[in-house]
């Protein structure tokens, strides 16, 4: 079955991102297609490569990256939410005159249309949030 996942919260502050990850991983392991994981609101903060969590805790960002590498998963950060919260890729840095980027590998920034498209294309949308 074709699934879409929406994540509304940032890493560590709220367990929603953990739930979304474990759900997505389980779905992929069962052979389902995860068409897209769409990060909205503070969810875009999952896509920064600058985190350094404590050694004895999970690395939420890296987990997403590794899952995306293994399953060629589409991890999309909403551009409007990312601009408000300071998540930047090369294109955004150039457009908005920023002197650095912080996006993690395997993540991409795109528009809200990507969420709508996922909801249209997929058999199920599963939302994780606060």
């Amino acid at each position: 079955m074709k699934l879409a996942v929406q994540v509304n919260e940032g890493p560590y502050q709220h367990q929603a991102t953990d739930s979304a990850y474990h759900f997505t991983k389980a779905a992929l392991e069962k052979g389902h297609e995860v068409f897209r994981v769409f990060f909205y609101h503070d969810g875009v903060l999952n896509g920064t490569r600058l985190t350094t969590p404590p050694q004895d805790d999970r690395n939420i960002v890296n987990r997403w990256v590794e899952l995306a590498e293994k399953y060629d998963l589409d991890l999309v950060l909403c551009v409007a939410a990312a601009q408000r919260r300071g998540i930047v890729d090369d294109g955004e840095a150039e457009r908005n005159g920023k002197d650095a980027t912080n996006i993690a590998p395997k993540f991409r920034i795109s528009g809200l249309g990507q969420l709508i498209e996922a909801a249209i294309q997929c058999d199920r949308l599963v939302v994780f949030g606060d």
């Binding site: 929406q6 509304n8 909205y40 609101h41 409007a80 939410a81 528009g111 809200l112 249309g113 969420l115 709508i116 498209e117 909801a119 249209i120 949308l125 939302v127 949030g129």
Partner: protein, 135 residues
């Protein structure tokens, strides 16, 4: 499954205290380009999103309440409000903004698509939807 899906946006949070109401509205605005059948549901503190008379001049936040009035132009066909939530908050339909809707092809018009429903009717609308967005 037909080409057109029934989208339901479920709004349960007060405006301004958090960004969920505003960023949810942004999805609805963008979603208009996709020609789906769109309804919005307001439950719990979500009913406060539709209260008239917002003035953010003293709080320096963006006032997005007027944007709800324009949703008819963005393809939103129904805006449902939970009766119990409204009553618990001492509100009536008079306290809420009105949203007009017009079908440009058929010239069908509705003065106000904001409609108050009881729990049973809401359960039915939720069940009939194809996709529920929560924020």
């Amino acid at each position: 499954m037909s080409d057109v899906k029934k989208f339901m946006y479920l709004n349960r949070r007060a405006p301004y205290g958090t960004i969920y109401a505003w960023e949810s509205l942004e999805v609805v605005l963008i979603g208009a380009a996709f020609d789906q059948e769109v309804s919005l549901m307001f439950v719990d503190d979500g009913v406060f999103q539709l209260v008239k008379g917002s003035d953010t001049s003293e709080s320096d936040m963006k006032n997005f309440t007027p944007t709800y009035r324009t949703l008819g132009d963005y393809g939103v066909r129904h805006m449902y409000v939970d009766k119990a939530s409204l009553e618990a908050r001492g509100l009536t339909q008079d306290d809420l903004i009105e949203v007009a809707w017009e079908d440009w092809e058929t010239e069908e018009e509705v003065d106000n698509i904001v409609e108050i429903l009881d729990s049973k009717e809401i359960a039915k609308k939720l069940e009939e939807s194809d996709v529920v967005f929560s924020f």
